[in-house]
């Protein structure tokens, strides 16, 4: 056995796969041309990353040759094989991909100059041509792109040739500069809170983007900090893991308390914009946590989840607003919330009861329908005496919490309120997941018939998932209506359901931390259906990016950014089993126990 595996490990992986490189070069050409025609370079040119060298518009094209060349150059090293030593051929391979990507743009430029297709393709404009040719002649522009593509492609290929450590350094630097630039609004806000405007003035250009000096500073820090900290973080982590269970539990508790305290203090150092942003993220975290119970734990694909958000929002509006057209008790928010929770729970039961008899695709379509039905009911003339139809309900008061009022004009208070409810939702999800009910949900997700045969009342259990999901969504709805102050049917489009689902999928289905990360990344950076994110300029490309991200995630990382252990197993069962077998963990029969 050992002899063979030693023999095997002598085998090297085959050389550069040229066909693959050419395929990626073509993909690159298509991508750059598509991005250019989608209008990203022109639309995003206003936002600079590094002033005046690089704008977001150019970045939307420049990442293509580099990233594709890196991906095209990566090779799977099968177990028992050793990776071959990379050489100049890999640089050439990267160059090919880079040239291909640039080629797509050059071809597009030639076409734009000679034909007019502006009618179907809105972005087929001289403006695009000017931008792409750097305001020079076509020949110069084309040549520049070819050079840029070649350089970036070779650089992408070089990521496999250069030593690993250097590569990761480069990656850290590039990503930090990008992140610092993207997070501008947030960081300025935060640093202002600490009275450190000097720093932001130095780093950032007045009208957005990093100054060259600022970029260099960030790069230097990104190089230095890992050098200074080194492996210390890992060492500390290892120490914690090595601690006995009791102590580790205490350390974890302390960490939890510290981070909770930090989160509670954070809003006071943030300005309006950042608080507003985080409040929006929080609302979506609440929604995503609720959907996570339904989809992630119980495996019920609910595409009409926005219905519960809407019911929560509208019920709060009716109960608290003096302008509510039909029935206006003007209850204080906390009391209204109790009614809201109960009512949304009941709506969850009512929608759930017919729906859960179905499975799979049918269920998804029916929930989609119910989501729309609820919105159309709120919009309808028939019920406009209660919910105001298209005019909605306005003048919803804020939440009076004794020491102050939580309302939309004061995003800090909203964020704090959202934080409290997120904590509740996290606790609920966590406790339920590790309970009798949570196990029953998982069993239903695995195999509904068998779960039923093993004594799980699947009807009730699935209804429970619906109700828990509905209640969590109603929290979000209640806060939303108090925050915005007025509520309209257009806030509850089907798109909201889809975006919540994307948050759950991208973040990591069935995992609380994953869902939070998903909401931070998607809602925080890209923005929600109506809420702007950090990249406000992206708003017109938001759905494009959501879609691309979703496709990419499904192909490459279906378990999400922060995966749930169980989901990973499910999606990569073959690989998992193979690994287990290689590690000798798998059980290959039990002769030894019998003999």
């Amino acid at each position: 056995m050992t002899a063979t595996s030693e023999n095997l490990s002598m085998v090297e992986t085959p050389g550069v796969a040229w066909r693959k490189q050419i395929r990626f070069a073509l993909i690159g050409a298509l991508s750059t041309a598509f991005i250019a025609l989608a209008g990203m370079p022109v639309g995003l040119d206003g936002r600079s990353i590094i002033q005046p060298v690089l704008s977001m518009g150019f970045l939307s094209l420049l990442w293509v040759p580099f990233v594709l060349a890196t991906i095209a150059g990566s090779e799977v090293v099968l177990e028992g094989m050793t990776a071959r030593t990379r050489d100049s051929k890999d640089l050439l391979a990267g160059g090919i991909v880079g040239l291909g990507s640039a080629g797509g743009l050059v071809l597009l430029m030639v076409l734009i100059q000679n034909f007019n297709l502006r009618d179907p393709l809105v972005n087929w404009s001289p403006q695009l041509l000017n931008l792409l040719s750097f305001n020079r002649s076509l020949a110069v522009g084309g040549l520049l792109w070819v050079l840029l593509g070649l350089i970036l492609g070779v650089f992408g290929g070089a990521m496999h040739v250069l030593p690993k450590k250097l590569c990761s350094r480069i990656r850290t630097v590039v990503l930090s500069v990008f992140a610092v630039s993207v997070l501008e609004t947030f960081l300025t806000d935060l640093l202002e809170g600490f009275r450190l405007e000097v720093l932001t003035d130095f780093v950032y250009y007045k009208r957005g983007g990093l100054e060259v000096g600022g970029a260099l500073l960030v790069a230097a820090l990104a190089l230095l900090i890992p050098l200074l900290v080194g492996t210390r973080i890992r060492d500390v982590k290892k120490q914690v893991v090595d601690l006995p269970a009791e102590e580790r539990k205490r350390v974890n508790l302390i960490l939890l308390a510290v981070s909770a305290a930090l989160l509670l203090v954070l809003p006071f150092f943030l300005g309006k914009i950042a608080n507003e942003l985080l409040a929006n993220v929080g609302l979506f975290v609440l929604l995503a946590l609720g959907l996570n119970v339904v989809v992630g734990l119980a495996g019920i694909l609910d595409l009409g989840y926005v219905a519960f958000f809407a019911v929560g929002g509208y019920t709060t509006a009716v109960l608290t607003s003096p302008n509510s057209p039909g029935f206006s008790p003007e209850l204080p928010w906390p009391i209204a919330l109790i009614v809201v929770v109960v009512l949304t729970g009941i709506v969850g039961l009512f929608i759930g009861a017919p729906v859960i008899r179905m499975r799979g695709d049918y269920l998804a379509i029916v929930t989609l329908g119910f989501g729309e039905i609820i919105r159309l009911l709120f919009l309808s003339d028939w019920l406009s005496g209660w919910f105001g139809g298209a005019q909605g309900i306005t003048n919803i008061p804020g939440v009076d919490v004794g020491i102050g009022t939580v309302k939309g004009t004061d995003p800090r208070s909203v964020f704090l309120l959202v934080l409290v409810f997120c904590a509740i939702a996290i606790y609920v999800s966590w406790r339920l997941e590790n309970s009798r009910l949570g196990r029953a949900w998982m069993a239903i997700r695995e195999d509904e018939d068998v779960a039923e045969a093993m004594g799980v009342n699947t009807t009730n259990t699935k209804l429970m998932a619906f109700v828990v999901g509905a209640v969590l969504a109603s929290f979000s709805g209640a806060i939303f209506s108090a925050k915005v102050g007025s509520i309209f049917p257009t806030s509850f489009l089907m798109l909201v359901s889809i975006i919540i689902l994307v948050v759950v999928i991208v973040g990591g289905m069935g995992n609380i931390a994953g869902v939070i990360v998903g909401a931070l990344v998607l809602i925080g950076v890209l923005g929600g259906p109506k809420q702007p994110g950090l990249l406000q300029e992206f708003s017109q490309f938001k759905l494009l990016i959501y879609g691309a991200l979703l496709v990419w995630m499904m192909l490459k990382r279906p378990e999400g950014l922060v995966p749930n252990v169980r989901r990973t197993r499910e999606l990569h069962q073959d690989e998992f089993l193979q690994d287990a077998w290689l590690k000798g963990e798998i059980d290959t029969g039990d002769q030894e126990e019998l003999s």
Partner: protein, 266 residues
């Protein structure tokens, strides 16, 4: 304990079972045999509530099971295993037997959220009983295995876990659908012994579908032979094995007098 009278089921025009009479007394081990398509698994599906009979009655401990959901049947005290092993593959081995105790426990959302004493006590009890059930199969399913997903188990161990999961529902009647299918002779001999112990130590009454005639011979008190949805013979193994009708149903080969081909079915 279980009386089945005039039980029939038709799928379209097909009589999967016709006027079946069947009885199990407490503490018996009864084997149901018959060629492929004889209706054995349909018979199990009907007892466990997954298929509704078109006519007839199933009475368990004096009460009819007709119209009950599978989960309610399980609650009454009938548990089953599946012919093609159907574990909750991505749940751990312990979780598989924990979730099977669902109908014997009753902590709900409130207990889980507020971590009441009752909740904690119940969780402990579920865990303990789960480990107890698993340790019935020796060291194979316990220890480090408890927290491994069921999908890493070997075939034979998956079969064992299926039985353990059925045991965890605290049944009085256990329906085993081909428990030794696909096992090697040594494993099936061992499992035969365990089936005997399931009765003597755990007090289960057992009805089992099996193709391996040596297992049927060794463990069952009584054998019921089904063919085309009808009972063609009933009685002790030696008597059934020599019944001309049974021999005919099995293509004229004497069953059990030597190792037959039936065991080598795919």
């Amino acid at each position: 304990m279980l009386q089945i009278t005039d039980l029939s089921v038709t799928f379209g025009g097909l009589h999967a079972l016709k006027d079946l009479q069947f009885e199990v007394d407490e503490g018996e081990i009864v084997s149901v045999i018959g060629p492929n398509g004889a209706g054995k698994t349909t018979f199990f599906n009907m007892i466990s509530g997954m298929v509704t009979p078109t006519a007839g009655d199933i009475v368990f401990e004096g009460e009819s099971l007709l119209g009950l959901d599978p989960s309610q049947v399980t609650e009454r005290g009938i548990a089953r295993t599946f012919q093609n092993v159907r574990l909750f593959a991505n749940m751990t081995i312990l979780e598989n037997v924990m979730v099977a105790q669902h109908c014997r426990t009753d902590q709900r959302v409130f207990g889980a959220l507020f971590q009441t004493q009752a909740f904690k006590a119940e969780e402990d009890a579920i865990r303990k009983y789960g480990e107890e059930v698993l340790s019935f199969f020796g060291s194979r399913l316990v220890g480090y295995r408890l927290d491994q997903p069921a999908s890493v188990l070997s075939y034979a161990n998956r079969r064992r876990l299926e039985i353990a999961r059925a045991m965890a529902t605290r049944p009085r009647l256990l329906l085993l659908d081909e428990p030794v299918a696909g096992m090697n002779p040594r494993e099936s001999a061992e499992l035969t012994e365990l089936i005997g112990r399931l009765r003597s130590e755990w007090g289960f009454t057992i009805v089992m579908i099996e193709h391996d005639m040596s297992v049927v011979r060794d463990v069952s008190d009584r054998v019921v032979v089904l063919d085309h949805g009808e009972t063609i013979a009933q009685g002790p193994y030696s008597q059934v094995a020599n019944d001309p009708k049974v021999i005919e149903a099995y293509l004229g080969r004497p069953v059990g007098s030597e190792q037959t081909d039936e065991e080598v079915r795919p």
